[in-house]
């Protein structure tokens, strides 16, 4: 096991609590606006659905300066208003502890797992601090499959606006599904239920100081669970409404860290994903219902401009990373896409090839990985612009169908991935794909 991430203060707090069946972790950084609501929802969820269990709410904070920690400790929930059928054995304790080291979500998760381990928790639930749509039922949906159905990882399943979750929809979901053969719709959702066995396994790992320490943590957790055959399920949580991302954060870095984690795990679990083909559904708990979601504003023209600027200035890098056919496709989209009567279009087949080529280049390392992954951002923006334009007239089920088609495209491209991964450079595409690839 790597050196403990737990500070003396957290150790002391954990020592005071001594034992807990359920640990609910809330990683935070400057979330004073929303975290009070999250804490109240968690508190209510624990009191309402797990009255006979001992529980602790752990806020792992990255050094907020807006009073996030005070908000956690002062958030008050009057249990008289909860209409409880049974009185909780003991009120859930609340700990708010700062974590040290590389600032990032992964570090916060590690501290939560360390505390859960020390308290001997049976399940650890993690929820984002920026949630506005969290309800007490979320705690039940995330913890109960672990406690009663003996699942190891519960991932969220929720409705999101058609323009929301673009990293998930365009990269992480299709790629993870095609690699590990399991349909997990929100692999980087941010809310998880984790069994003792699984968080113990996470703590055993030695790669906490990589991209995992930051935004790569979600996909790292899901991938390990899928690759190491832990039992994974999904829980329907309704809609996900959350605050806009921290505008001060370098969001290109976020993309780089998530993809870096995916690709690093591809290297580690190569023997696993090589032999898996197709995809199988994952158990989905909870009663599904339609729910309204907040519209997400996007600026397509600026994304297309960023993509074209990326091609103009980074094409030498892309040329070294992408296969010749893929590069030609990207070049064609950059030079001609959206300039004729046809709208700007970055096809599924071309996008799949781009992602696969970057994965293979990550292994081959034709240049510094950091720069290579950073150069991916304009390509991603081009693809997002294309999907926004394509999804504009579509309803939510139609959008879901489009995402399904992209996933199938990734699954069909897996032999091509294997060929390129092995350095054969073969691009296994059908004639239909080649036709679609031509703008």
């Amino acid at each position: 096991m790597t050196p403990a991430a737990i500070s003396p203060g957290a150790e002391q707090a954990a020592g005071f609590v001594r034992q807990a069946d359920i640990v609910v972790g809330i990683p935070s950084f400057n979330n004073a606006r929303t975290i009070g609501h999250v804490v109240r929802a968690v508190h209510a969820g624990l009191a309402k659905f797990f009255p006979q269990w001992t529980a602790v709410i752990v806020n792992s904070d990255g050094g907020s300066t807006d009073g996030t920690r005070q908000e956690v400790l002062s958030a008050h929930m009057d249990e008289q208003h909860l209409l409880l059928l049974s009185t909780p054995v003991s009120a859930a304790h609340r700990l708010s502890v700062p974590y040290h080291g590389i600032p990032g979500q992964g570090r916060a998760f590690r501290l939560i797992f360390e505390i859960a381990e020390r308290l001997g928790a049976k399940v650890c639930v993690v929820v984002d601090a920026d949630l506005r749509s969290i309800a007490p039922e979320w705690i039940d949906h995330l913890a109960r499959p672990v406690l009663q159905a003996h699942y190891d990882l519960v991932t969220p399943y929720y409705h999101r606006h058609k323009y929301d979750g673009t990293i998930t929809n365009n990269i992480v979901y299709p790629l993870t599904r095609s690699l590990y053969g399991a349909i997990v719709r929100q692999p980087i959702g941010g809310e998880f239920g984790i069994s003792r066995k699984l968080f113990h396994r996470y703590l055993e790992r030695t790669d906490w100081e990589t991209d995992v320490a930051r935004y790569g943590i979600d996909i790292w957790m899901t991938t390990i669970a899928l690759a190491e055959n832990f039992r994974v399920c999904q829980s329907f949580l309704g809609a996900k409404l959350h605050d806009a991302k921290d505008p001060g954060a370098d969001l290109s870095d976020m993309l780089k860290q998530v993809m870096g984690s995916v690709f690093l795990l591809m290297l580690e679990y190569e023997p696993v994903w090589r032999v898996r083909s197709g995809s199988r559904p994952t158990e989905l708990f909870g009663f599904r219902f339609d729910v309204g979601v907040e519209p997400v504003a996007v600026r397509v023209d600026r994304m297309i401009d960023a993509f074209r600027a990326g091609f103009r200035d980074l094409h030498e890098i892309w040329q070294r990373v992408l296969a010749p056919k893929t590069y030609e496709g990207v070049r064609s989209v950059a030079l001609h896409g959206g300039r004729t009567a046809d709208p700007f279009h970055f096809s599924d087949a071309l996008w799949t090839d781009v992602v696969i080529d970057f994965a293979c280049a990550f292994r081959r390392r034709p240049m510094d990985r950091g720069y290579m992954m950073s150069s991916f951002t304009p390509l991603y923006l081009g693809r997002v612009a294309s999907t926004v334009l394509a999804f504009e007239p579509l309803t939510a089920p139609e959008v879901e169908n489009e995402i399904e088609q992209l996933c199938l495209q990734f699954e069909r491209a897996k032999p091509g991935l294997l060929a390129r991964w092995d350095g054969n450079g073969a691009i296994v595409n059908t004639k239909e794909e080649a036709k679609e690839n031509t703008p």
Binding site: G165, K245, V296, A297, A306, D313, P366, D368, Y371
Partner: protein, 233 residues
């Protein structure tokens, strides 16, 4: 008359004999050494090409970008560097040995100058290579960053970084070789001064614009903020 001619002719023959007996053996020996060195150079290149693998060095060359920097096709391999290095080392050693056989002041000076300069030349070459690599590495980083941040003319920004770093490498290398030290140093100081001046002016202009924008933003505070390019993540 005949006697004079005979004496001149004998003198020429004597000198020729002297030159032949004095210079021909070292010349022949030098030629033999050169041939031997050339043969050794070819042999060493052949052996290294077949024995040396250098896969770890290949990986380093590829990952560091040195392979592409030295050979734009990216086909540069460690085995090529080792083989060519050995080839030229044998050849140069052969030439120096062959030249030193003549044992004249000129050849001695030539050999001494070369031996004296060699470490400096190697060091300067290494400095230039390291500078070129660093310039390329940081230039590329700057380019990618500038593109992602939407900074105007990212290629020019990257080119400025590359040129500056390369210039610093040239100044250091010239200093090593003791070549036009004052010229390069003066140029370097002038460039640095120019950069500081330009940065000061840019900071001043940006600060005044920033202040102007801040005051305008205060007025527009009531208006709806425009969505971020990334709020769909």
């Amino acid at each position: 008359m005949t006697e004079t001619l005979r004496k001149v002719f004998e003198g020429v023959l004597d000198r020729l004999q002297y030159q032949v007996t004095t210079l021909l053996p070292p010349l022949l020996a030098g030629a033999v050494i050169l041939l031997a060195a050339y043969a050794l150079a070819i042999l060493s290149r052949w052996i290294i090409t077949r024995i040396f693998k250098g896969m770890a060095i290949d990986k380093f060359l590829r990952q560091s970008g040195l392979a592409f920097m030295i050979d734009p096709s990216g086909r540069l391999r460690a085995v090529t560097i080792a083989a060519e290095g050995a080839y030229w080392a044998f050849l140069i050693a052969g030439v120096l040995t062959a030249v030193s056989i003549f044992d004249t002041d000129l050849t001695t000076q030539m050999v001494q100058a070369f031996v004296f300069l060699l470490p400096k030349l190697v060091l300067s070459g290494a400095i230039l290579l390291a500078g070129a690599w660093l310039a390329q590495y940081l230039g590329r980083g700057m380019l990618v960053w500038a593109v992602n941040e939407g900074i105007p003319a990212p290629r020019r920004v990257a080119a400025v970084v590359r040129v500056l770093l390369m210039f610093i490498a040239v100044v250091v290398a010239a200093d090593q070789l003791n070549f036009a030290r004052s010229v390069f140093l003066a140029a370097f100081i002038m460039t640095c001064g120019g950069i500081v001046l330009a940065a000061s002016i840019a900071t001043g202009v940006a600060a005044s614009r920033g202040l102007e924008r801040f005051l305008m933003d205060k007025q527009d505070a009531q208006k709806e903020p425009s969505p971020s390019l990334w709020n769909h993540l």
